[in-house]
């Protein structure tokens, strides 16, 4: 499988420092082989979009990166730390990696501000005032500082997803993972979330994003990865990927998704 790092999109710099390295990673759910021989290197500042049909293992792949799922063979090294059963390593990596879910997964019993301040307070062990200061800062960045004292249940889906992004950012992660962040949203809210993600991408954050928003992929990705059946079938710079897909499967998939 050929691995190329695309430096196509202007105005965003990618260093040569490797942030994530997956080598010959395999994973099984019981007897079911869900990830097959995954090899992937992500450099600092890279923005990667993963797409592929449902059940192809996209979520599983990114959930392996912060050990929400355990891989069985191969190595995953994140920011120089290998992911093993070692809880110290896991703790360390989770502090470096933020994650945003399809279903937001905000804590409904806490206010927006408390949601965001939770990790700085209890994981980074900051004083409450500093934690809340940081939380407000990121809430401003996702443009909803005025909602800080509301509860998640009182917000629209788009607002909730932006809070979820702010909550991850509060840990000041080096890498952000997004698992279909817009697919539970109504069409009019998708844009507000994508805007925040684009802004984040422009600031040079290392990002891996599972999404079917091809517009987003074209705008910000350095590289698009296509998965099927637990394998990485193809990866390429977005222009190449969309205009000149290599494998038949990719072609079929693109035709379905772009028609829709």
């Amino acid at each position: 499988m050929n691995q190329e790092t695309a430096h196509g999109t202007p105005g965003m710099m990618i260093s040569d420092e490797v942030m994530i390295e997956m080598r010959q990673v395999h994973k099984w759910y019981g007897q079911f082989h869900v990830l097959k021989d995954i090899n992937l290197t992500v450099n600092k500042g890279e923005r990667i979009v993963i797409c592929g049909p449902s059940g192809s293992g996209k979520s599983t792949l990114i959930r392996c990166i912060n050990r929400l799922e355990e891989h069985q063979t191969g190595q995953i090294v994140v920011d120089g730390v290998e992911l093993t059963g070692d809880i110290k390593h896991i703790e360390k990596i989770r502090r470096e990696v933020g994650m945003v879910f399809q279903q937001f997964n905000l804590f409904p019993h806490l206010t927006v501000l408390e949601n965001c301040a939770l990790a700085p307070l209890w994981v980074r062990k900051m004083p409450r005032r500093d934690a809340e200061h940081i939380a407000m800062q990121y809430l401003e960045r996702v443009k909803i500082p005025e909602q800080a004292l509301k509860y998640p249940g009182q917000l629209s889906g788009g607002q909730q997803q932006r809070v979820a992004i702010a909550r991850s950012l509060c840990m000041n992660p080096k890498i952000m993972l997004f698992d279909e962040p817009t697919s539970a949203l109504d069409p009019e809210m998708i844009k507000e979330v994508l805007d925040v993600m684009i802004e984040l991408a422009e600031s040079g954050m290392t990002m891996i994003c599972v999404t079917h928003e091809m517009g987003f992929a074209k705008t910000v990705a350095n590289r698009v990865i296509f998965m099927d059946g637990g394998e990485i079938i193809e990866q390429n710079a977005p222009e190449e990927f969309f205009n000149n897909p290599q494998s038949d499967r990719t072609k079929l998939f693109l035709s379905q998704i772009l028609d829709h």
């Binding site: 010959q24 891989h71 059963g85």
Partner: protein
Amino acid sequence: MAADPREDDLPSKPPVWNDPRIRALVFQIVIVVAVSAFGYYLFDNTLTNLQKRGITTGFGFLDSQASFGIIQTLVEYSETSTYGRTFIVGLLNTLLVSGLGIALATLLGFVIGIARLSSNWLIAKLAAAYVELFRNIPLLLQIFFWYFAVLRALPSPRQSYDLGGAVFLNLRGLYLPRPLFEPGFGYVFAALVAAIAGSMFIARWARRRQEATGQQFHTIYTSIGLILGLPLLAFLATGAPLAWELPELRGFNFQGGIPVIPELSALLVALSIYTAAFIAEIVRAGILAVSQGQTEAAHALGLRPGLTLRLVIIPQAMRVIIPPLTSQYLNLTKNSSLATAIGYPDLVSVFAGTTLNQTGQAVEVIAMTMGVYLTISLVISLLMNWYNKRKTLVER
């Protein structure tokens, strides 16, 4: 791609003290040690204490003679029977009152539960009042009430209420005639068996015929006719080979017949009324859990209300009803141990009461008693799990 991925190198092993698996293992070992140590501590204390105080231990007492009387025994029992026998007697009495209680409570509970959903406002409100009244008053109080307050209202044996000279009701209980089977009665019994077999056959035939031709057949009426009629015919044909032993007033009390002691009736009434209040709520919730849309869909298909209930509502409601219903059955069985407060000779009263006291072997007796209740509850939960596994709706 590698030929066999399993040959690839595994992720590196973490140091032992940071491996969550090992931590979990250590933690569990600690727990096991702590629990066993605590268990051993209690066990050891008990043994020491028993020994120091010269209390006999072991189950030898089960073979000694009990020499006390029990008012209601389902198996043969006399004062010369053993303590082991008192265990059986108590157990059977517990099972009797629980079994009857479960049947009555279920019946009453379903009636009240359905009445709560009645479109008749008054009936619905009365049912609600029943539920709110009885489930919010302690059971023990209800048992006392039914026993002492109602007992006072009944007449003495000499002034018994008399139903046709066959059934008598007084302070000492309800006396029913006892059937005495004479030789020819075997035919009647055979006829009954035949009738039951026949109606089962008819039911199957009717189902087959419906499947084959679509015609429906009222199995219930034929079955009732068959089950009542055939034995009656046999009974008359063999010259009515049945005599009744009527209870009669001899000395102080009625003798003969089947006596139902007031302790049993009071306990049974209290248990059934109390548990029925809970069952009614379960039934109501179960029926409500079937969405209105199901009823509407059935109506829209042209199913009548009766069929809708039978084919659509009840099968779905039962899935919701059965699990909490069994736990009510379990509660009822456990609550039957309150028998001891009014002297119904159940397991707790006879065995964990009198027997314990006469033998003084508290540890053994209480262990056996708890064992019985635990076994009952385990059996019921196993049945429950099995039922749940069979009946859960298939999902994606």
